[in-house]
């Protein structure tokens, strides 16, 4: 088709659209919903004694605070990555926060081993991984829907940040409902779960986030009637 004619058709088929809200605003909306979901899921799987034990241990609480901050920054990066022309600086912060979270877990490991030994049960360590991956799946789905409303500029990057956002937040719930004997084990299991989420999301990203999908999503796909 001739480009001039394409331009005329695009203008002729134009429908009004509401501009997407800023990535920070959309990220906040997702985070509030995700925290509620993780909170309810965690409470349904946790005894009051477990929660009390976690609350009293700063070596468990500190990495969780960092994990929530990481999730917040990663979801902002996810939603910023689908906005053309948005500053790429937002990509740096979640990476730093993730590094701090890993460092916090590693640093807390020796101090915390003794304090939490009583609340851990070795035979259910793998459950945290199930909780992070399967429990996080609905959050990934919601984030995918939100990301698909944007431009699929870097599908793999978007998917990786989405997985980090979901993984770090789900990790908080898993730390409360399935605590490990020390943060070294947490690091291994939760790190592996987040890695699985990242790999799965990145592998599926080009099917979910593509320009052809964006054209379908826009609702007024150009009618090429020939």
């Amino acid at each position: 088709m001739n480009t001039d004619r394409l331009v005329e058709r695009l203008a002729k088929q134009l429908e009004p659209v509401a501009p997407l809200r800023r990535p920070g605003t959309r990220a906040a909306a997702w985070l509030i919903g995700a925290m509620l979901y993780v909170g309810i899921l965690t409470l349904s799987m946790t005894s009051a004694a477990d929660i009390a034990a976690v609350e009293n241990d700063p070596w468990i609480v500190l990495p969780q605070v960092v994990a929530i901050v990481t999730s917040m920054l990663a979801v902002t990066a996810t939603l910023a990555s689908v906005v053309p022309g948005h500053s790429r600086r937002v990509f740096v912060w979640p990476v730093i926060a993730l590094a701090v979270w890993l460092a916090a877990l590693a640093a807390a490991s020796p101090q915390q081993a003794e304090a939490t030994a009583g609340i851990a049960a070795a035979n259910r360590e793998w459950l945290c991984m199930v909780q992070i991956v399967l429990g996080g799946a609905p959050l990934v789905a919601v984030l995918a829907v939100m990301a698909r409303r944007g431009a699929p500029l870097h599908p793999a990057v978007t998917a990786a940040f989405a997985a980090i956002a979901v993984g770090t937040l789900s990790n908080v719930g898993a730390c409360v409902s399935h605590p490990h004997t020390d943060n070294g084990i947490t690091l291994a299991w939760h790190g592996a779960a987040i890695l699985v989420l990242v790999l799965v999301c990145v592998a599926g990203s080009r099917y979910v986030l593509s320009w052809s999908a964006a054209r379908r999503m826009s609702g007024d796909e150009l009618q090429l009637d020939r």
Partner: protein
């Protein structure tokens, strides 16, 4: 290529804001203004791939821009938003080009002949554009218009019907008759 002075970018911002609100005239104006710019960027980066490929990329950028126009933040400048889309589509285009060129071998057009004379439909008479043009000119008015709109201008049946004032069915019949007349005139055998 026609060159025009670059419009002030604030104008483009305003036009895009109006386009988001559904103002088709503003959108048409915006697309007409940015198309030469997009074409210039594409030709600069991918001119080696040929004009047709570059034009495909320009159209790809326009379709992409249209699909994600909701991502434009009215509080931000339009040009960086546009350039991010252009860059992204150029990278995707380069990737596609690298993939296909690795699998394709370009051949010059060659005459193909077969041992059976009946199978050699590609005769010199048909290849002669002058003879074909003359044959089209000699068609009855309705048939000539159908051929011009549908085969030469490559309009859809709907568009051709709107322009000619004929029904889609009548256009199909006229095209069929015109093709039969042309085959007879040009002495082409077969379907």
């Amino acid at each position: 290529m026609m060159t025009e002075p670059n419009p002030p970018t604030e104008d483009l911002d305003q036009l895009m804001r109006a386009a988001q609100q559904g103002d088709a005239a503003a959108y048409l104006n915006l697309l007409r203004r940015i198309t030469p710019r997009i074409r210039a960027v594409v030709l600069r980066q991918r001119g080696f791939a040929g004009v047709a490929e570059a034009e495909d990329l320009v159209q790809d950028v326009l379709l992409s821009l249209h699909a994600v126009r909701a991502t434009y933040d009215p509080a931000r400048p339009f040009v960086p938003w546009l350039l991010a889309i252009v860059r992204n589509r150029l990278v995707d285009g380069a990737r596609r080009y690298a993939k296909t060129s690795a699998r394709e071998i370009r051949l010059d057009e060659t005459d193909v002949t077969f041992s059976e004379p009946a199978t050699n439909t590609d005769t010199g008479e048909i290849a002669d554009a002058g003879v074909l043009r003359q044959a089209v000119r000699e068609l009855p008015e309705g048939q000539r218009q159908a051929i011009e709109l549908l085969k030469l201008e490559e309009l859809s049946l709907k568009e051709a019907a709107a322009i000619s004032g004929s029904s889609v069915g009548a256009l199909k019949v006229a095209t069929h008759r015109a093709m039969a007349t042309l085959r007879r005139t040009l002495g082409v055998k077969g379907k």
